[in-house]
């Protein structure tokens, strides 16, 4: 319906009209042979009625496509994919992309989306109204992009899905579940390497959910987590997806991060982890996507492979370049290495610095405990 009309609100109203008509007609006339086509065709006429009544001045009647030839191969799954690409169109504001995806694709209410993104429902509703108006006025098409654009457009979609996943990391497991559901849908409909890689990454992270915080809500670092509690079934699925992604053409940063997560997930303990291979994967990841955050993660892996002083030197080099100075995790990582080296006063300073920059409560509690222990 949205594809036919190019207008979310008009499509919703028209479909409601069509359902109302169905409730009236079907008991009398019998259920039509193809109920979906009947609803869409009726909805289209109802939309034209609404336009005729002049309730919308924006779209003219001529804008309503006349042909319905493709309703026969109308496929619900394909439709969801079109909807995702429309909601994640780069011409929409990034916040609106996330909000539209959660509302229109996942079916969350405006209130639920607002709560997850720490904003008020009216602000979010405003953002959604603006996005819908742009889809209609600039005529953002309701379609899956063609090959030459697909990779770039898919990257935006995957980014939105990963944002949703990360938003739920500590406090909103329901968002994590929604993100994984979206990831599965994408892999099913569009099995591109990076879509598979992202699903694997989310599954592998999510497999550790139960062991990530104490009952009191303190973050438990990877090396202290109870590995017996990790979701083995989910890890198995994630690892299989990593192998599938690595075997297909065009894999990238999500697949590489998933491969690293897979090595962690399969290791019996932190010291028994294959740090050599993890450092190697970070090297490849850095070449694919140079970023100081990845450099930081690589430094932490080097510390595990070669000793804390080697990791510390790399971290200090990042800071010396003036990068990540406001990023709490670099100071926390630095503090951990100083602690392992027995340089207590410096470690204390670094933890204090990290604490001042940390917002999430579980992370704050862990740093506070470390400070007390020192």
């Amino acid at each position: 319906m949205i594809r036919l009309l190019g207008d979310f609100d008009l499509a919703e109203e028209a479909l409601q009209d069509a359902f109302a008509a169905a409730v009236e007609r079907w008991p009398v006339d019998g259920t039509p042979a193809n109920p979906r086509s009947w609803l869409i065709s009726t909805g289209r006429f109802k939309a034209i009625d609404r336009l005729r009544k002049g309730r919308r001045e924006v779209a003219g009647e001529a804008d309503v496509p006349q042909e319905l030839s493709d309703t026969e191969d109308y496929d619900v799954a394909d439709d969801r994919l079109r909807l995702i690409f429309t909601c994640c169109h780069p011409a929409l504001h990034p916040d609106a992309q996330v909000a539209m995806t959660l509302r229109e694709v996942c079916g969350l209410t405006t209130e639920e989306v607002a709560a997850a993104f720490l904003t008020t429902a009216p602000t979010l509703a405003q953002r959604i109204v603006r996005a819908k108006a742009k889809i209609r006025d600039a005529r953002i098409p309701y379609e899956v992009p063609e090959r030459p654009d697909l990779a770039e457009r898919l990257a935006t979609v995957l980014h939105v899905v990963y944002l949703v996943f990360n938003q739920g990391y500590f406090t909103r497991p329901d968002l994590g579940i929604e993100a994984i559901r979206l990831g599965r849908l994408l892999v099913e409909l569009l099995p591109e390497a990076e879509a598979i890689g992202l699903l694997a990454l989310m599954l592998l992270h999510d497999a550790r959910r139960a062991t990530r915080t104490t009952t009191a809500g303190e973050l438990i670092p990877l090396e202290e987590q109870d590995r017996a509690q990790w979701d083995r079934r989910q890890i198995k699925e994630g690892v299989a997806l990593v192998e599938r992604a690595l075997g297909s053409r065009g894999f990238g940063p999500y697949t590489l991060q998933a491969a690293i997560a897979a090595l962690h997930a399969e290791a019996p303990s932190s010291p028994a982890t294959d740090w050599v291979q993890i450092v190697g994967l970070y090297d490849v990841l850095l070449r694919a996507e140079p970023s100081p955050v990845i450099e930081l993660n690589r430094a932490a892996a080097i510390a595990m492979r070669d000793g804390p002083e080697h990791g510390l030197r790399l971290i200090d080099a990042i800071l010396a370049r003036g990068e990540l100075r406001e990023y709490h995790l670099i100071h926390a990582a630095r503090a951990d290495l100083l602690r392992r080296l027995g340089r207590k006063p410096e470690a204390r300073d670094a933890y204090a610095h990290a604490l001042a920059l940390t917002v999430e409560e579980p992370e704050r509690r862990l740093i506070e405990r470390r400070l007390q222990e020192l």
Binding site: R139, P141, E143, P145
Partner: protein, 114 residues
Amino acid sequence: MKYLCLVYQEEKQEANVPQDVIEQAKKDYWAFTEDIKKSGHYIGSNGLKHTDAATTVRVRNGKLSATDGPFAETKEQLGGYFLIEAKDLNDAIQVAARIPSAKWGSIEVRPVWG
């Protein structure tokens, strides 16, 4: 649907561009325009003289004021436009991306009323 592609680029930089690069840009513009005429996208286009030739006109309380210069000082200035007919925004974005200035300036794509 009609879209206006507004071409923005830095006027100040143009003085530093070597002659052969300017000649190549002219050729690229000509080829691009011929291309979108053939594909049926083209409706009209013009290049604009620099903003130092611009006059901004306002009428407030019935009183006309005409002042020197563009209405706003920006890093990149409006230097021309293409009015195109496109299937949808994706189609319009594809056309806009082929405007030679997209490589050094910015193209604002605006749907046209009606």
